[in-house]
Each structure stands twice: as structure tokens, then as C-alpha cells.
């Protein structure tokens, strides 16, 4: 099972591998969630949803179901690479 962005824990970072097909694909790509980009989970809203990710150099808030569309390759634990 490939890992998706929602499975990261706060402070963990990864590299985006691919985007699932679907309505949000274009929007996510436009916002810079493209393969090869570094992604780091920073924090979440009360209740665990939405989640704030750092995409390259900026913070992006995504709902759980949106984060599930981003497949990732785990990079390292601890995140400050």
C-alpha cells in the first residue's frame, strides 16, 4: 500500500510521488502539490481535520480526504532535512 499525505505525523516530511485521479487533481497540482515536491505535515485543526502541510515553501490547509489523494515517498523521520 503506498503511503498518502494524511498518514504523516506532525513534523514528518516526505516527497510527493503522485496525485490520484479525481476532481481535486488539477487544484492540487496548481497549488504546487506536484511529484518531486517536498511536503511536511506541520499541525492539524481541532479534531484532526483539516491538516496544515508545508508544500515547498508555504503552508497549505487540506482536508483529510484531500490529503488522501497525495501519494508520498517517506523521506525521513524528524523532518528537518
Amino acid at each position: 500500500m503506498p503511503m498518502t499525505a494524511d498518514q504523516l505525523r506532525n513534523g514528518e516530511s516526505a516527497v510527493i510521488a503522485s496525485l490520484h485521479e479525481g476532481d481535486y487533481r488539477l487544484r492540487l497540482a496548481e497549488m504546487g502539490c506536484v511529484p518531486g515536491t517536498r511536503i511536511k505535515r506541520e499541525y492539524q485543526a481541532p479534531g484532526g481535520d483539516p491538516i496544515a502541510f508545508r508544500i515547498d515553501t508555504y503552508l497549505l490547509g487540506l482536508r483529510l480526504e484531500e490529503a488522501r489523494l497525495i501519494e508520498i515517498l517517506p523521506e525521513d523521520k524528524g523532518g528537518n532535512a
Binding site: Y24, G32, R38, D49, P50, G61, L62, E66, A81
Partner: protein, 664 residues
């Protein structure tokens, strides 16, 4: 005049730049049928004056929300003249994502130049760009600026823009982007857009690898530290409520001084006019009709300005987006979106800009639901009504437990609106479930010190349009009211005078009134009752009598269907408190005596019932007009008018009966 459009991502410093360059010389324009605004301003180049157009911030040309569409309409020249050139504003701290827009724009063939902003925050994130290298790679002129700090901004930019306008249009590479855009925005589904975006990012990556260095990925920022608290499950919500409380408290305390000045100025003007003009009907038109009506509006400009200003500061600082972030889960449950928070909070200032602010919600059902409940947020026009009624019926010294009774009633009025709004949104979701997928995908911009000047400018523009719109309506209504209450059918006015003299003999004069004062009050009451206005009021009295209102309130109620704040103006015209001062009207109303019983007429049950009526009723033609524009038909505004009218009537009825039973 040649025109240059400013295009860029949201939060890239575009509006700051625009405001710095054009100052207060701005106006806004709408495309037919929409309320999305473009801002226009004049800017001087060495040899000519040009027009700058500030368009809404966008991430991509292939976007679906109305404000994003406006940008594309300008660029394609649909319904508007195309600009002569484009000034692209690029955020240096986020260059990769910003360049997507540059790559798309390149395909449209406009003469383009770019300014690079936010280099200081890029540096803090370990980013640095080689501008001259970037210019070569992108094939466009780039000027590094800091719109917030640079002292000299106009001079270098005017030289830069002159060069841009004199440059030859770039050679257009063969592409079908323009055609694709047209098809996309006429609703066609276009395949391969995601792939195209990925390919553009590949190209951006190769450009950046040559001219950008990134030292580190992890960054310990002030923003993340603050967010730890602002999104905290407990502290975050407490902070949200505290911020709202501070805003409302701020509106009251900060506006107090300026409001007194306005009141004093009008009192002074009224005395001046009275001593200057001969005692005549025409001078009555000014001192009893025009001045009190106008004073009733102008006096609330300080409050409205402060409310717009404070909400503007919150938006500009980046906090409002966090409020969206923490409330999204709850909002989703009732068919709204985290993004609804901004319009809903804005609704406390004014429903009109709030309706426009719903445009960033892409899901149509969520957007409609937000627009439906926005009018239930107690807007600043209701504030004067609440203030007048609360100070009329509730003594400032009265406490319920530790809370002053006045504050409690005011807060309850706001909460009554909020609770009903949440219920209505939930009902709407139940009976009108969304067909589209709901999305959040929201940038959380870094916190920044709010730009006082920009925010104040925007708040002032909003006040100005409030004054222009409300002012003219109120002027007409106050003159009409004055005429209707000065004259009556036949010799009814003379008869009223005789009746008043008789009543003065029969009724006992209250202790705190001089006998002469008592008689003149009885006279004006009888005269008003005999006038045309009195007749209209009496005609609708049976309908509003169950709510505890008399015919005078009826007149004020009818006239405030044009806009709520007219209520205070009408009351001051009806009670001839020519100094336009809340305490003046209040004093007249408190002294008002029921001619049949000799008891005070306007008590606590009356005040509470009216407050609830105003909290729910959709008494604002401008709001209805904006909603018609935004939804494309009169169906929703009219249905809401009827629904909220019924709700107001029912609510006022229950509150009135309840207060009579329990409080009196």
C-alpha cells in the same frame, strides 16, 4: 489612456503596491451582472498618465470561482477592454508556485514585466534568487521591490512601466492557451489540464534550479509558533471568541469620542440654522426633517468605520484564514465551509461586502447556504437600533448577576441571530443536499503586521459607499416623513390642538414635567396622530399591535424597510429631537405618555420585542439587490425576505408576550 493590469497570486503584495502607487485616487468597477470588483487608479509616468487595474489574486488562469473568472475576462477582453500590458507581481518567498501563473500568462502574448516582492521573507526561509539570471530565463524584465517598506517606490516603478509600454509586444509562441481558456470558462470540460500543469511545473523546476538557491527546508517561523496557539483545540477557540469580543468592545469604546463630535456638530448646525432662518415651515423642513435624519446616519459612521477597520486588520494579518481552518469541521457538518467564517464575521459589519466575500467558496450549495445566513448576522446598521432601544428601556446601573443588563441584552441579540443562522444552514443542508464535492484547499499565509494605511483606505471606501447609498435613501425618507407628519387631511391638525388642550386639563401632569412642557408634548402627540403619517401608522397598527408596537413605531418600521438604520433617523424625526442625538430621542421617548392612560409608553417588553424583530427581519434593499446579483435571480432574496419577516414577527410576538408575563 493606456492601461496596465496588476496580476498575481493572493497575498503577494499586489494590493499594497497598488495602493501605494495610486493613493486615494481609486474607483471600482463591476462587470455587468456581477459584484466582483476590479480597482482602478491613475498613475503618472514621466510622459503620460496611465490607468492601473488591480485584479483579484489568482493561482491559475484555469480557475472556477467568480473572482478568478474576472481576471480571465479582463485578460481575454470579454465584456471589457483588454489592458495594454501586464505587471506581474511575484512573491519571492513562494516563487515556484507564483511562476505557474507567469508560465500561463506567457501564452497570452501580453507585453509583461514583473516585480519581485517579499525578498526579506524569502531570505528568512533560506531562499535566494539571482534576478538577472531569472530575467534571462523567463524572458522578462524584473524589478525587486518591497511595497511595504521602500520609501521610493513611485519613481523606479514609473520608469520601469514606461519601458514596458514602449517595448515591442513579445513574439507569441504557437499555442492554444487562449482558445482553451475560452472553452474552459464557457463550462467545457478540458482534458489534460492536470498534465499540462505538471509539465509547466517541470519547466519551472528547471528554471529555478538555475537561478534559485534553497539553503534549508525546515524553518522555525514565527507563523508556526503563533499557529501552535491559534489552532489549539482549547486555546484556539477561546482566542477566536476573545478576538470577536475585542472587536465589538473596540467598536463601542473607540467610536464613543467621534460619535459625540458628530452629535455636537449637528446640534450646533441645528441651533445655527434655527437662529439664522425665520420661523417658517421651510426652516422646519431643515431643522425637523433633514438635519435629524442625516444626523441619524452620519453619527454611526465612526462605528462602521471602526468595525470595517478592525475586521480588515484581522484579514490582513492572516488570522481570519486560521479561523476558517479551525471551524471547517463544524461548518462542514451544517453544510457550510471553513471559508464561510470570513463572510459570516464580515456580516457583523455589513451584509453587502459579506455576500461578495462568499465568492471564494467554490461549492455552490455551500456558497448559497452562506449567503442565506449572512443577513442573520447583526450588521452595523442594526447596532444603532439596538443601542437606542436598550438605552431606552434598560437602566445602565441594572445588573443580572455580575453582568450589566444592557450588555446581556446586546449579546443576546447577536447570539439570537447566530443560533438561528446555524439552524437554518443545517435545515438547508438537509433539504438541499449538495451535488458537488466540497473542497477546502486553502493557503495559510504567513502572519504579517497589518498594513494600517491600506486597511484604513479600504474601510474608508466602504464607509463612503455606505454614506452615499444609505445617505440618499435616508434623506428622501426623512423629508417625506417630515411632510407627512407636518400636514394632515382637512382641518384635523387644528382639531388635534384643541383636543390636546382638553386632554391637558383632564390628565394629571407627571411630577418630573413642567405643566407647559407636558401640554406641548401632548399637543405634538395629538398632531402627529392627526397627520398623514399618523393615518398610515394607524392603518397598520392592528397588524403590529400584538408585538407591542404603536402606530409611531409602525411608521419607523415601514421606513426602515429601505434600510434598518433609517429607524433611528425616523424616530428622531418623529420625536423631533433635532440634535440627532441618541440621548435626545431617548429622553423624548421616555417622557412619551400614553394619552389614554398617562403611563410611559415604551417599556422593556416593547424594546425586547423590537430588538428581536430587527435581529431577524431582512430589512435591507441593498442586501437583497446584491443577493440578486450574486444568485442571478430574485427567487432567493424574496423568499428570504418573506421567511425572515415571518420569523421576525413570530420571534417578536413570543418575546413580547413572554416579557409581559415575566418581566412586568
Amino acid at each position: 489612456m493606456r492601461r496596465i493590469a496588476l496580476v498575481g497570486n493572493p497575498n503577494c503584495g499586489k494590493t499594497t503596491l497598488f495602493n501605494r502607487l495610486t493613493g486615494l485616487q481609486q474607483h471600482t468597477s463591476n462587470l455587468p451582472g456581477t459584484t466582483v470588483e476590479a480597482h482602478h487608479g491613475k498613475f503618472k509616468l514621466p510622459n503620460e498618465t496611465i490607468e492601473l487595474i488591480d485584479l483579484p489574486g489568482i493561482y491559475s488562469l484555469f480557475a472556477e470561482s467568480d473572482d478568478e473568472k474576472l481576471v480571465v475576462q479582463h485578460l481575454l477582453g470579454e465584456g471589457v477592454e483588454k489592458p495594454d500590458a501586464i505587471l506581474l507581481v511575484l512573491d519571492s518567498s513562494n516563487l515556484r508556485r507564483n511562476l505557474l501563473l507567469q508560465q500561463q500568462l506567457q501564452d497570452l502574448g501580453y507585453p509583461t514585466a514583473a516585480v519581485l516582492t517579499m525578498q526579506d521573507s524569502a531570505k528568512r526561509r533560506g531562499l535566494a534568487q539571482d534576478i538577472s539570471h531569472l530575467e534571462k530565463q523567463l524572458g522578462l524584465q524584473i524589478l525587486g521591490i518591497n511595497p511595504r517598506k521602500d520609501r521610493q517606490l513611485a519613481a523606479p516603478i514609473s520608469l520601469f512601466l514606461e519601458k514596458l509600454l514602449n517595448a515591442a509586444a513579445p513574439e507569441l509562441p504557437p499555442n492554444d492557451t487562449e482558445n482553451k481558456l475560452q472553452r474552459f470558462h464557457s463550462g467545457e470540460k478540458i482534458k489534460g489540464l492536470s498534465l499540462e500543469t505538471l509539465l509547466r511545473y517541470n519547466r519551472i523546476e528547471s528554471i529555478l534550479s538555475a537561478c534559485q538557491t534553497q539553503e534549508y527546508f525546515g524553518w522555525k517561523s514565527f507563523t508556526l509558533k503563533l499557529d501552535r496557539w491559534f489552532v489549539h483545540p482549547v486555546v484556539g477557540f477561546l482566542a477566536f471568541f476573545a478576538v470577536m469580543m475585542i472587536i465589538f468592545q473596540g467598536v463601542f469604546t473607540l467610536a464613543e469620542g467621534p460619535m459625540t463630535w458628530v452629535e455636537d456638530a449637528f446640534a450646533w448646525a441645528s441651533v445655527g440654522v434655527e437662529s439664522f432662518l425665520p420661523q417658517h415651515t421651510a426652516s422646519g423642513l431643515i431643522t425637523d426633517g433633514l438635519l435629524p435624519g442625516l444626523a441619524g446616519v452620519v453619527v454611526f459612521v465612526p462605528q462602521i468605520f471602526i468595525l470595517f477597520f478592525l475586521i480588515g486588520l484581522l484579514e490582513d494579518s492572516g488570522y481570519m484564514v486560521r479561523a476558517s481552518f479551525i471551524t471547517d469541521r463544524l461548518m462542514r457538518k451544517i453544510g457550510l465551509n471553513g471559508r464561510s467564517v470570513i463572510p459570516l464575521v464580515g456580516g457583523f459589519a455589513c451584509a453587502i461586502p459579506a455576500m461578495m466575500a462568499t465568492r471564494s467558496i467554490r461549492n455552490r450549495s455551500e456558497r448559497l447556504a452562506t449567503m442565506i445566513v449572512v443577513p442573520l448576522m447583526s450588521c452595523s446598521a442594526r447596532l444603532p437600533v439596538y443601542v437606542l432601544l436598550i438605552s431606552l428601556a434598560i437602566p445602565a446601573q441594572q445588573f443580572i448577576g455580575p453582568v450589566p443588563a444592557q450588555t446581556l441584552v446586546m449579546t443576546s441579540a447577536y447570539f439570537a441571530g447566530i443560533i438561528v443562522a446555524l439552524l437554518i444552514a443545517a435545515l438547508f443542508k438537509r433539504f438541499h443536499p449538495s451535488q458537488e464535492r466540497s473542497e477546502f484547499i486553502l493557503e495559510l499565509p504567513a502572519y504579517q503586521r497589518p498594513r494600517l494605511q491600506t486597511v484604513a483606505q479600504q474601510a474608508w471606501m466602504k464607509c463612503k459607499s455606505f454614506l452615499q447609498e444609505a445617505g440618499s435613501v435616508i434623506l428622501i425618507i426623512s423629508v417625506a416623513l417630515w411632510a407627512l407628519s407636518t400636514w394632515g387631511p382637512g382641518d384635523s391638525m387644528n382639531q388635534a390642538k384643541i383636543k390636546a388642550e382638553q386632554a391637558a386639563k383632564e390628565l394629571e401632569c407627571p411630577e418630573d414635567l413642567e405643566p407647559r412642557e407636558f401640554q406641548s408634548q401632548l399637543e405634538s402627540t395629538f398632531k402627529l396622530e392627526a397627520s398623514y403619517a399618523g393615518h398610515i401608522g394607524h392603518a397598520i397598527e392592528p397588524a403590529i399591535e400584538p408585538l407591542g408596537y404603536d402606530w409611531k413605531t409602525g411608521i419607523a418600521l415601514i421606513s426602515s424597510f429601505a434600510a434598518r438604520e433609517v429607524f433611528v433617523g425616523t424616530m428622531s424625526t418623529l420625536f423631533q429631537s433635532s440634535d440627532g442625538n441618541v440621548s435626545g430621542i431617548r429622553a423624548r421617548m421616555q417622557k412619551e405618555i400614553d394619552p389614554h392612560t398617562g403611563e410611559p409608553k415604551y417599556g422593556i417588553a416593547y424594546a425586547l420585542s423590537l430588538i428581536i424583530f430587527y435581529a431577524f427581519a431582512l430589512q435591507c434593499i441593498s442586501t437583497m439587490a446584491v443577493m440578486k446579483k450574486e444568485t442571478g435571480s430574485w427567487t432567493w432574496p424574496i423568499s428570504l425576505f418573506l421567511l425572515y419577516g415571518a420569523l421576525a414577527y413570530l420571534g417578536a410576538f413570543i418575546v413580547y408576550r413572554w416579557s409581559i408575563g415575566f418581566l412586568i
